[in-house]
């Protein structure tokens, strides 16, 4: 690992990589780590052993990432692999995600927590349906920065015209889905052009190499300026030194701030109370802000349980027993409206019915197909969901933690879909996303 200054804690950037099979994702990450000198010498030695065994002269950098035996055998990525490296500027968490359509669920797993998505495009093959799907999903998930890396520039003689033509069609698609802001970088993962080092063979490219770009992207700021939300994870009865009993409501602030004395609304019931104390292990604290895990005491004796949400009383979340959402269906079992489901949103799990499929989005054309009979694996659709009881939530575009949910099959316990709640009365168009990116 490259050392960085001992007292410095450089900002963290989480990024995911996506793209079609064989576009070279694992090679790119391998190249990035190798050229950034972030690969331990024993792992390089292991790659050299493999190259010798196969009689190859160069080590295969893609093997740094593909961790499962089946992945190495087939030369593909099945599931997300996380890796960690640092440069003097920044710490990085990479989620290397699979390209196969079959494993799209694993791609969104990696992208759901990313600050930036690198989407690879093969310079020779151009954009594919899977490239579009990854761009669309990354945008839908609200990944703040989209970076399109046009790989294998060596196969098109590092041609500016080829790069411009591809950039044009990518730009057209990105504008159509509302992702107007994106970066385009021409690279060769195989030879290292514009990955860590610049490229003498592409003097026409005026932008930064990929790593320099990643080092300077502004981080997404935790939603600390959004209205206060803390989903209650656990309620614990605590004995104080004097023998008095109290209740601690444990949870993480997903947005906003809180301090002792603040009035809060307990949603979905809507009861008002005041915060008596905010504390952590070390003791009471004056105030807490988004991202912090705390224990809260309130002044009134209310019925508060896991799944309730402490909220800013003047800007509370919506409470309802139904909502519209965009979902990505993950299960090999098609969705046909029968099945019993549970959704988990924040810390609340509630029985749910997928009442109606409003439309499905065709990834190749972006056309919407109204009211399809069923959803197949990897379909993206706008649906209406009915809940067994009222729940507190926000639109995903306003508050990620309060608007994201997973759908669990109540019979098999499998996670069969992920969804993003739409604004009331609005549509789930991704251009409505409103992320707090520190620009």
């Amino acid at each position: 690992m490259a050392p960085f200054g001992d007292d410095l804690d450089p900002g963290l950037l989480r990024f995911s990589t996506a793209g079609s099979v064989d576009d070279g994702k694992s090679s790119l990450i391998g190249r990035l780590l190798y050229d950034a000198k972030a690969v331990p010498s024993d792992r390089i030695a292991a790659l050299e052993r493999i190259a010798r065994r196969k009689g190859e002269s160069e080590i295969d950098l893609s093997l740094l990432m593909d961790g499962l035996t089946v992945e190495r055998e087939q030369g593909i990525t099945i599931d997300v692999a996380y890796s960690y490296f640092a440069t003097p500027q920044r710490k990085f968490i990479i989620a290397d995600t699979p390209g196969h359509e079959q494993y799209t669920r694993n791609m969104v797993t990696g992208a759901s927590t990313a600050d930036a998505a690198i989407i690879l495009v093969d310079a020779l093959r151009g954009i594919t349906t899977q490239t579009r799907r990854h761009l669309y999903l990354s945008h839908l998930l609200g990944v703040p920065h989209l970076v399109i890396a046009v790989n294998k520039m060596d196969l098109v003689d590092f041609s500016e015209a080829a790069f411009d033509a591809l950039g044009q069609s990518i730009g057209d698609f990105a504008r159509a889905i509302g992702a107007a802001n994106h970066y385009l970088v021409p690279i060769s993962a195989k030879f290292g052009d514009n990955v860590v080092h610049g490229s003498a063979r592409m003097p026409w490219y005026a932008g930064k190499p990929l790593l320099a770009l990643l080092e300077t992207l502004p981080p997404a700021i935790v939603a600390r300026h959004a209205p206060f939300r803390m989903p209650v994870q656990l309620v614990r009865r605590v004995s104080l030194p004097g023998g008095e009993q109290t209740r601690h409501y444990l949870g993480r602030l997903e947005s906003g701030r809180i301090k002792a004395g603040d009035e809060i609304a307990v949603m979905p019931a809507g009861n008002l109370t005041r915060v008596r104390s905010v504390s952590v292990f070390e003791g009471p604290i004056e105030r807490a802000e988004a991202g912090r895990s705390v224990a809260i005491e309130v002044q009134d004796d209310l019925d508060i349980a896991r799944g309730d949400v402490f909220s800013a009383p003047l800007l509370p979340p919506r409470t309802d027993d139904h909502f519209a959402a965009t979902i990505c269906w993950f299960s090999d079992e098609p969705f046909d409206g029968r099945g019993r489901y549970v959704i988990k949103c924040g810390t609340r799990s509630v029985a749910a019915r997928l009442a109606e499929i409003e439309h499905r989005v065709d990834m190749a054309t972006l056309a919407t197909e109204p009211k399809p009979e069923m959803l197949k694996c990897n379909d993206i659709a706008r649906v209406r969901i009915e809940l067994a009881e009222k729940m507190a939530f926000d639109a995903y575009g306003d508050n990620r933690a309060m608007g994201a949910f997973i759908v669990i099959d109540a019979d098999t316990n499998a996670t069969v879909a992920a969804g993003m709640i739409a604004r009331a009365g609005g549509d789930a168009a991704p251009d409505a996303l409103n992320y707090d990116v520190g620009l």
Binding site: M1, P3, F4, D6, D9, P10, G11, L12, P40, D42, R43, I50, G67, L68, T69, R72, D79, A81, Y82, S83, Y84, R90, N106, V108, T109, S112, T113, P219, I221, R224, P227, F228, Q233, L234, R236, V238, H248, L250, R252, G256, R257, I258, E263, V280, E289, R292, S293, R306, P313, L314, L315, K344, R400, A404, I406, I408, N413, A414, T415, L439
Partner: protein, 317 residues
């Protein structure tokens, strides 16, 4: 009143890509606390695996942060190969007593005596055999979640693992069919006989671990710091001298100043030469280390490219 109207804190500059110092450790800590609390909420009978090593020692501090002033909502479990460093076992017992939490110990030797494990040879490393004893303990106590200190940066099969990682009724991991895990929405639903492995330190790296140990002033077994120790040299590795590590012919015992980067079963943990006697020294050394943590110190992972994955599929941590 709405607390979101407050101005940003002093020193906060949205234009600067660098976050305030220590923010990174705060975020890792908060995420781990969140995961521990989700585990307590979603499972009826979780357990925390505590070996006396540095990662599980951090887990205990995080459990204190998640649940004090209450008791932990789970006991501690150690699967003891019977070939652990005595100072680590002493540390384990000391810490459990100091915390006032229940420690369950299950011995690999008992599994051998009961015929659950048949050794191929007397000198066989017991590291991989722990899985059988662990799964037996899970069945004995009907644990439905095991919290462990594994990190994704340790090894590439681990790099693939979810934070809530499902195990079927045979205790097996099926890496091709993991549950999608988006945002911080963890699916903890199980049928009887199945269980979850939970990894709150998934996103921590070795340097994060040491910086946290420094920040929290956590005590560790002394062998994590430089000390004189009789060792033998085998290839690029040093072997600790012990009745559990049979020497080969022409291997000689010599005394070197060493420390351990990972501490596990004696038969498969080897020290590195180091003068790092304090946590600050270790941090400085870790920042310039070029060998990965397990590669430098684990005799068993080198056997094949896939050895960790094979053990994990069979139920290993």
């Amino acid at each position: 009143m709405d607390s979101s109207d407050l101005p940003p804190p002093p020193g906060f500059d949205p234009a600067s890509p660098a976050l305030p110092p220590a923010r990174h450790l705060d975020n890792l800590e908060s995420e781990a606390i969140y995961i521990l609390r989700e585990t307590a909420a979603e499972f009826s009978n979780p357990v925390l695996l505590f070996s006396g090593g540095k990662d599980s020692t951090i887990l205990l501090r995080l459990a204190e942060k998640a649940f004090r002033p209450g008791k932990f909502p789970f006991p501690l479990l150690h699967v003891d190969t019977g070939q652990n460093f005595p100072e680590v076992i002493a540390f384990r017992d000391h810490i459990a007593a100091q915390l006032g939490e229940r420690l369950i110990v299950r011995m690999v030797q008992d599994s051998i005596d009961r015929g659950r494990i048949r050794l191929k040879s007397k000198d066989q490393s017991r590291n991989a055999l722990q899985s059988v004893t662990l799964l037996d303990a899970i069945a004995e106590f009907e644990f439905d979640a095991c919290i462990g200190g594994a990190r994704r940066d340790e090894e590439k099969a681990r790099a693939k693992e979810r934070i809530f990682s499902f195990r079927n009724s045979f205790g097996q991991w099926d890496p091709r069919h993991q549950r999608p895990e988006l945002w911080s929405l963890y699916n903890g639903r199980l049928d009887k006989g199945e269980h979850m492995r939970v990894f709150p330190l998934s996103n921590w790296t070795e340097i994060d671990v040491w910086r946290y140990i420094q920040r929290e002033k956590l005590a560790l077994p002394p062998l994590y710091y430089a000390h004189e120790r009789p060792v033998a040299v085998r290839g690029s590795m040093l072997l600790p001298i012990s009745e559990f590590v049979p020497l080969r012919e022409n291997e000689e015992i010599e005394t070197r100043v060493v420390r351990f980067r990972t501490v596990g079963d004696i038969s498969c943990t080897s020290p590195v030469e180091s003068n790092a006697a304090t946590v600050e020294d270790v941090i400085a050394e870790t920042l310039i280390a070029s060998l990965s943590e397990r590669g430098a110190t684990r005799l068993d992972d080198q056997a094949s490219e896939a050895s960790m994955e094979e053990r994990k599929r069979a139920g290993y941590f």
